[in-house]
Amino acid sequence: MNCRQLLDALGDYLDQEITVSVRREIEQHCHRCHKCWLLLETCRKTVAVYEHQEPPELPAAVHDRLMKAVLRIRRDIAR
């Protein structure tokens, strides 16, 4: 496996959707190629920092406006 082939397999590697043998080839390449090892690690961290982000709280006014509108719709449906 060379750097270009590693790049082609990178997405599936990050999603853990690769076969054991491809994973082994990637790991062997990374033993020899520090740049690809860094690429793998930093890509993994990129996904992780986004994954870990909690969304900000919903403003109370937005919640209230929505629930009032739901109540109106509910009345219309019941009618």
Binding site: V49, P55, L66
Partner: protein, 206 residues
């Protein structure tokens, strides 16, 4: 409350039970679904339409549509995946009204022919999240994702932030599975490149 577990606090009731209760008119059950998912849907909407006011309208429309269509919700997917799909459609409709159909196309060929091979590959802090205050980190990630072109931004948001599967993302955006995969890889590589100068070991936290 028609739930099978009446003694459980609302926050612990499984999603499917909340949907079943909401469907037969339990407003508190629907409100719990709003509590659970509206913050994520608002963030998603902001990332698509680009501003808070429009995003709040998208959120409202999406949940109202979901409420009106609860009868039709089949439960093949989770309620969460379903509301994400409704919100994405709503947000794209709004963007198209503002910018025109062609500018907001998701299936356009966006391959710019540039090489995917990354330029700067440097060592990062072992735990970049520790380097920034919560709000700082939130702003940094929001700014970074906002700078991606819409097709990349949407695929990344649905796959890596909202946690939809490749198949669910393809369905929500009307893309093929290979298109989702190639867009996702490009999005991840672009974000990695943009975050590099903040997260590399030598960087001074802003």
């Amino acid at each position: 409350m028609t739930s099978q577990s009446p003694s459980l606090p609302l926050t612990l009731i499984p999603e499917a039970e909340l949907v079943a209760s909401a469907r037969v008119g339990d407003l508190r059950a629907f409100e719990e679904l709003v509590r659970r998912y509206a913050p994520r849907i608002l963030r998603l909407a902001i990332r698509v339409v680009g501003n808070e006011a429009d995003a709040e309208d998208v959120l409202q429309e999406a949940f109202l549509k979901a409420y009106a269509k609860l009868e039709q919700f089949q439960g093949h997917s989770s309620f969460y995946t379903w509301i994400v799909r409704i919100a994405v459609n709503e947000a794209l409709m709004r963007l198209r009204r503002r910018h025109g159909e062609r500018e907001v196309s998701l299936d356009q060929e966006i391959d710019t022919g540039e090489d995917l091979l990354p330029r700067e590959v440097e060592d990062w802090h072992p735990d970049p999240e520790q380097q920034f205050a919560r709000q700082e980190m939130h702003d940094l990630l929001s700014r970074t994702i906002a700078s991606l072109a819409l097709p990349y931004r949407l695929v990344f948001q649905l796959r890596d932030v909202e946690g939809l599967s490749t198949e669910e993302t393809a369905e929500a955006l009307g893309l093929s599975i290979p298109a989702v995969k190639s867009r996702l890889l490009r999005a991840r590589l672009q974000l990695r490149e943009k975050l590099n100068r903040f997260f590399r070991r030598e960087a001074n936290p802003a």
